[in-house]
């Protein structure tokens, strides 16, 4: 099929490019004439939701993005944060939701590829990856197929590329039945004085195309990602790209080698909307025009039109502006790695984006306006209705031991081993804490003691009930998970997954969640340095649960001081730090209610951010003082599930005393926020622990001794003792038996 550039622009054609009539009018006003077919494609690529953030920009501006350690905030390929000693961590999280539903293996694989490229484009070698995956109900007919494909795709790409997957999330809910979420995170290390940016500098310099050849795959992908799904979704398969991790690995090595030569002035990877977005971004940022000659673009298919080349989303491609005198040296690096290297254009001083193809000028557009003049909407939104809090006496009862076993062996809290054993978690030889704990921890190569911690978190149940508190909670839980390893949380990336923003109630969820995230980030001094927005996650008019995933990074000055979640020795005191004196009070939106009583009512737990900060800082200090032997934050399933996880991870039991007068269900399954469990290598009767309590009391932190480790069973108050082996059996069997079922 060959598409011509003289194709007539009809209202139907405009609509099929995802452009609204008023947006098309804006184009006409901007350029003073009818656009060519290629130009229409360029506008649709630049002005779709995915690339322009037109619905979200107004609210994203409210997020805190600065901090003493922030070198680069949002707006580049990834955020950059100073970790001392001239080193920086470079990271970002990005969604690949729509493609992963249409074609799970390739969709997930190219999601991983895209985020890795964002990181090494900035000059950083990727050292850690995570992925937050959300699927439909386990019993839904497509779920197994999607889990299989997505997990294999994430592994297939990341394993071959050679980055350890150190953490992530997997969750199931019927609200993702027609629209699963794949949020991929990557982090890399770079020297602070060797960070590369996308801003082009200098007129008349070569614009060089590097990497894989351009094909027809993914043409119009970004536009697809900005639309809702209907029943015709299967027809969209051709818009999914195909990943080639082997090429990406070579591209990584070639780019890092090339950067060493000093030849690179600016670099931008070709992600969504490929050549269009990357060229426009480099030029617009540098206040320069760009001229492209498409006849020079390496292609792997015949008779490709200008339109197709400009909109192709073929993977593993880069665009650079190079010092002309270093071009031969640069070419040699790419020849060594057997990658394409072609000078496809030049920078100009006319601020125009001009594209030539077979001797014709097929596009001539104002480069700054392509980005800056993109529509921006203040979409109408309605205040979300928060469900009424549960009545105080509304505590459905169940045998505590039975409830615990059902929860650790249920789809929400069961082990994710089936998933993470398909990922290479130890390549590079720096993984200190692998998946299964609170956060992944790696050593920093090139430094004797430093480590980095990574965690990805959000609780969509809470966000659905109360988007503002849910947004706060996502940030707080991420911050808490990093803290639980002993790390100082540095900064975060946000991946905001929501439904159709043109519906005021969905926009309301978005607005309130972003405000909640902002508030938590400010109080916890945890700025957002990069991110991605994925809207229109709906199928046939039903939106997903609001899912603002937060990916956080923390710094450990001494990785040896880091602790894990597993009990490490018998007869150690267990302290519950933070939270209310009743131990547990909040059952609304809990896993206990949802999974054991099929109830989704009540308000989400609220996060007291000041208490969160105070408690976290106290716990971190304890860990760094060396008295903590294990630490775990409390989240889904509350105190009971957290204790079980610590017991299972360490293969050691525990006996925990109940508190008379407190409802054991609230105590063990309430999901009150801001709480940690720690075990101490201290004598519970000794002076050190007394001093610790005194300090906690002075700070107003509740830190009761609730029990001790030891034995082979876990005893929660008056409940029947459960053998740790029985818990482990239930915990480990849900996923494999579900996938085999």
């Amino acid at each position: 099929m060959t598409l011509r550039n003289d194709i007539a622009i009809t209202p139907e054609l405009v609509a099929s490019h995802g452009l609204k009539p008023d947006e098309y009018q804006k184009i006409l006003d901007l350029i003073g004439r009818e656009p060519t077919y290629t130009e229409l494609g360029i506008f649709s690529a630049m002005w779709n939701e995915h690339c322009s953030y037109k619905s979200s920009k107004k609210w994203l501006r409210t997020l805190p993005t600065k901090g003493p350690r922030v070198i680069q905030g949002p707006g580049e390929n990834a955020g950059v944060v100073d970790i001392g000693d001239g080193q920086a961590v470079v990271f970002k999280m990005e969604s690949h939701n729509h493609p992963s539903y249409i074609e799970p293996y390739q969709g997930a694989a190219t999601g991983v590829g895209g985020i890795l490229r964002d990181v090494f484009t900035m000059g950083a070698r990727p050292v850690a990856a995570m992925n937050a995956l959300r699927f439909g109900a386990p019993e839904h007919e497509k779920t197994r197929h999607l889990v299989n494909g997505v997990v294999a795709g994430v592994g297939g790409y990341g394993n071959s590329f050679g980055v350890p997957t150190v953490g992530g999330e997997v969750e199931f809910d019927a609200r993702y039945n027609g629209n699963n979420l794949v949020n991929a995170f990557a982090a890399g290390l770079a020297d602070t004085d060797k960070i590369f940016y996308s801003e082009a500098k200098g007129v008349g310099l070569p614009v060089v195309y590097l990497g894989a050849k351009t094909g027809r795959d993914g043409v119009g992908g970004a536009t697809m990602a900005s639309a809702e799904f209907g029943d015709d979704i299967e027809e969209k398969r051709p818009t999914v790209q195909v990943g080639d991790p082997f090429t990406e690995k070579r591209l990584l090595e070639a780019c890092l080698e090339l950067m060493q030569t000093g030849a690179v002035i600016a670099i931008q990877d070709m992600g969504a909307a490929g050549l269009t977005c990357s060229a426009v971004e480099m030029g617009a940022k540098g206040d320069l025009g760009i001229e492209l000659d498409l006849d020079k673009v390496p292609v792997r298919e015949e008779r490709m039109t200008a339109y197709e080349m400009m909109l192709s989303e073929s993977q593993e491609r880069m665009l650079m502006v190079l010092h002309p005198e270093k071009e031969p040296e640069a070419r040699k690096v790419f020849e060594k790695w057997e990658l394409d290297f072609a000078t496809v254009g030049k920078t100009t001083d006319d601020l125009r984006f001009r594209v030539f193809w077979q001797g014709d000028e097929v596009a001539n557009l104002p480069i700054k306006d392509l980005g800056d003049a993109a529509p921006e909407y203040d979409r109408p939104w309605t205040e979300p209705k928060t469900p009424a809090a549960l009545a105080k006496d509304d505590v459905p009862q169940m045998d505590v031991a039975e409830a615990l076993l059902a929860l650790v062996g249920g789809h929400q809290c069961s082990s994710r081993r089936w998933v993470y054993e398909q990922y290479d978690t130890l390549i590079q030889g720096n993984s200190m804490q692998r998946p299964g704990g609170d956060a992944g921890v790696i050593r920093v190569e090139g430094h004797d003691t430093k480590g980095l911690a990574f965690s990805s978190d959000v609780n969509p149940r809470y966000c659905e009930a109360n988007p503002y508190e849910g947004g706060k909670q996502a940030v707080a839980e991420c911050w808490r998970n990093l803290t639980a390893t002993g790390a100082e949380p540095l900064a975060a990336t946000d991946n905001l997954n929501f439904g159709n923003p043109e519906r005021p109630e969905i926009m309301g969820q978005f607005v309130k969640a972003v405000l909640g995230i902002g508030e938590a980030c400010r109080v916890l001094e945890f700025p957002i340095v990069s991110g991605n927005v994925s809207l229109y996650n709906e199928t046939n008019g039903r939106g997903i649960l609001p899912t603002p995933t937060i990916g956080g990074v923390g710094l450990l000055p001494e990785w040896k001081q880091s602790v894990g979640i597993g009990f490490t020795a018998e007869n150690q005191p267990i302290l519950l730090i933070g939270g209310p004196s009743e131990r547990g009070t909040h059952l609304g939106q809990s896993v206990y209610l949802r999974d054991l009583f099929d109830r989704r009512d009540g308000d989400a737990p609220h996060v007291d951010l000041a208490a969160e900060k105070k408690t976290g800082d106290f716990v971190r200090k304890l860990i760094r003082s060396g008295v903590v032997s294990a630490c775990h934050d409390l989240s889904d399933g509350g105190l009971g599930v957290a204790l079980a996880e610590m017991a299972m991870a360490g293969g050691i039991g525990a006996t925990v005393t109940d508190v008379e007068g407190n409802d054991p269900i609230l105590t063990f399954f309430g999901e009150d926020q801001g709480r940690y469990l720690v075990t101490l290598n201290l004598d519970p009767q000794g002076p050190e622990i007394a001093a610790l309590w005194k300090e906690a009391e002075a700070l107003g932190i509740f830190a009761p001794w609730i029990g001790s480790t030891g034995g082979t069973t876990l005893t929660l108050g008056a409940a029947t003792a459960v053998p740790v082996a029985t818990l482990t059996g239930a915990h480990e069997s849900w996923f494999p038996s579900y996938m085999n079922g």
């Binding site: 394993n159 082997f246 990922y423 590079q428």
Partner: protein, 222 residues
């Protein structure tokens, strides 16, 4: 001692291997790019793990036909010790330096976990740091590690003590015949194994059971 690490495009545990050899041997190995004309003088040649040529076609098949492998074959024939780990093992098999085949894991999935290995033959230049029958911990990370050989070959390698390591205590992660995790050539100067001893050599890795393999072979050639 002198060690050389051969690097093909797509390998990705070359950095892990170089780090292990450097930390244990005290000297950085020479790194040989697959297009280099020759391998510098070395007493140990290592082909590390990864996905050479993307594992496209068949794991190790393309790398095995690369000209540098003729040089590896020449050196091996002269008695130089050759170690292939994971993709390196697959390449040695595809190059005909070791017998048998490595098929897809029976689970049909990539598997990354820690397994137990039994040191089946402790009387080789690679394994003398262990004792026969010793059980060690070692991680695996592969998609195609299911060792297979026909009955006659199997009888031969078993009979000649050419099985160096076996998966132990029911931890065979891939369905390998006779639980075979690593094998030697007839002269016992070429070892290929699927597990990654280079990822378990220091406290930071949570153990150092892999260390003795490198310590032994590097000392032997000192």
């Amino acid at each position: 001692m002198k060690a050389a690490v051969i690097v093909f495009p797509g390998l990705n545990r070359d950095r892990d291997m170089i780090a292990a050899l450097t930390k244990i041997g005290g000297v950085k190995p020479s790194v040989v790019w697959h297009q280099d004309a020759d391998i510098p003088d070395a007493d140990l040649i290592v082909i590390p793990g990864g996905f050479s040529y993307g594992d496209y076609l068949r794991c190790g098949a393309i790398a095995a036909r690369s000209p540098i492998m003729d040089k590896v074959r020449e050196r091996a024939a002269k008695g130089t010790r050759v170690l292939g780990v994971c993709n390196g093992f697959q390449i040695l098999i595809e190059a005909g330096l070791l017998p048998g085949a490595l098929m897809r894991n029976t689970s049909l999935k990539f598997v990354c976990r820690e397994v137990k290995l039994e040191v089946t033959n402790a009387d080789t230049d690679f394994t003398r740091g262990y004792t026969k029958g010793q059980i060690i911990r070692c991680p695996v990370a592969h998609h195609d590690g299911n060792y297979f050989a026909d009955a006659e070959t199997l009888k031969q390698i078993e009979g000649e003590g050419r099985v160096a390591f076996r998966y132990a205590e029911g931890t065979n992660p891939n369905g390998s015949i006779n639980d075979i995790a690593g094998i030697l050539n007839a002269e016992k100067n070429v070892l290929g194994l699927m597990p990654h001893p280079e990822n378990l050599i220091e406290a930071a890795h949570g153990g150092d059971d892999g260390r003795a393999l490198f310590a032994t072979v590097l000392q032997q050639v000192a």
